[in-house]
Amino acid sequence: MSNRTKGPQEPNGVQKSDEIVHDHNHDGVDRRGFLKCMAWAGTGAFCVIKGGVLQSYSLSRLSEIGAEAAAGELSFVQISDSHMGFDKAANPDVVGTLKAAVGKINALPVAPSFILHTGDISHLSKPAEFDTVDQVLKDAKPKDIFYVPGEHDVLGDNGQQYRERYGKGSHGAGWYSFDKNGVHFIGLVNVQDLKAGGLGSLGHEQLEWMEKDVKHFSKSTPIVVFAHIPLWSVYPEWGWGTDDSAQALAYLKKFGSVTVLNGHIHQTMQKVEGNITFHTACSTAFPQPKPGAAPSPGPMKVPAEQLRALLGVTDVNYKQGQHALAVVDASLE
């Protein structure tokens, strides 16, 4: 179980509130940290719910996810930030790395029930970009894919195209909920109508909907909330947080098991706060720097000819039992 996520019920999971229990970039943007970042591209997270508690595994440690670990009441995969259409030095082949992620999903010992995509499907909201992602994901064994939009998916039309493609049956800007095997999933939109100087925003209408949505569930129902921008304050200076997330989380206080899955920051982090476990997923496209470690949160670059090789680096400072979401040992080549 070296690679399992520290959940609230983890025996050694004595964790302080507000503590980031896992940060792959812990040693900064030195060479090692950089290689680790690169190795996450093309990966996703495999999630299993056991006893109502979600456990998360990095797909890049696929070989360590045995059938026993993968067994549970429900399993699914989270991928994020495909940024289809991005073609800069940080990754000139975002199609290739998304295909690699699909390959890893299909190689899992237990086929996940579905895929969650936590936004920034496209880079510039172009129809061809969405088409390409749809085409690549057709090859994934799970046929159900649930999306929430990133800010890159709603450019120019306030998300109309996004909702036509992915938001059937959703409310407002595209929020919705569904149930699978006794687990209640809530997809939220926090990338629309952003205000000058602010962070991600859910807005009153969505918050009201959410309050009603969860009201009638018993407190033993496991809850999974997913949205693009983190619903916890990762680094507000770079906009990595959501202004009104506290209200949304307040509606979830009565539940014993709440998991929040986000993307946007292109790196994995985890935090446990009371009954809520927060995860952010890496990007299938390119890494971003550790909070505050660079002048801006722009893509981290490596020469194009080195990208694939770097994705295969296995020399990683992985410590058993200390790091929750696992690091790297798979090559995309």
């Binding site: 510039l124 205000k195 000058a196 962070l199 200076e237 801006s296 670059k301």
Partner: protein, 129 residues
């Protein structure tokens, strides 16, 4: 970028040590007080012109002071798209990918606050005299 940097430094030197000690925002203000120097790099049109660069998720110069009738052109030098949106929505660009730009002519004096709607922590102002 280099040219802007050296002009900024030069302006700072001329203004004396006190300005240098005040840091980046003060230097930008000094730079903004000399918009004519920027106009030379902008496309020649009937209107006077000025430029705002987007680098590292930052608009500069900020604030930019121009005369009424000036056309301001924003250019994105980042690897990710940005937008230019007035707080009051009086002007609004499409998403500008790398090296793409947006122009807007300011006809009335006033202070115009704007931001990037993708990265709303990016805020800046145009002052029209």
């Amino acid at each position: 970028m280099k040219k802007t940097f050296w002009m900024t430094c030069l302006a700072g030197l001329m203004a004396g040590a006190a300005v240098i000690a005040m840091g980046a925002s003060a230097r930008m203000q000094v730079f903004a007080a000399a918009p004519a120097a920027v106009a030379a790099a902008a496309p020649a049109e009937d209107n006077p012109a000025a430029a705002v660069k987007i680098d590292n998720f930052t608009f500069s110069p900020n604030p930019l002071t121009v005369a009424a009738g000036t056309t301001v052109r924003w250019t994105n030098h980042d690897d990710v798209p940005h937008t230019v949106v007035a707080d009051d929505k009086s002007f609004k660009s499409k998403a500008m990918d790398t090296d793409e730009g947006f122009s807007y002519t300011f006809t009335k004096p006033g202070t115009y606050s704007y931001f990037c709607s993708l990265h709303p922590k990016m805020v800046a102002k145009i002052v029209v005299k």
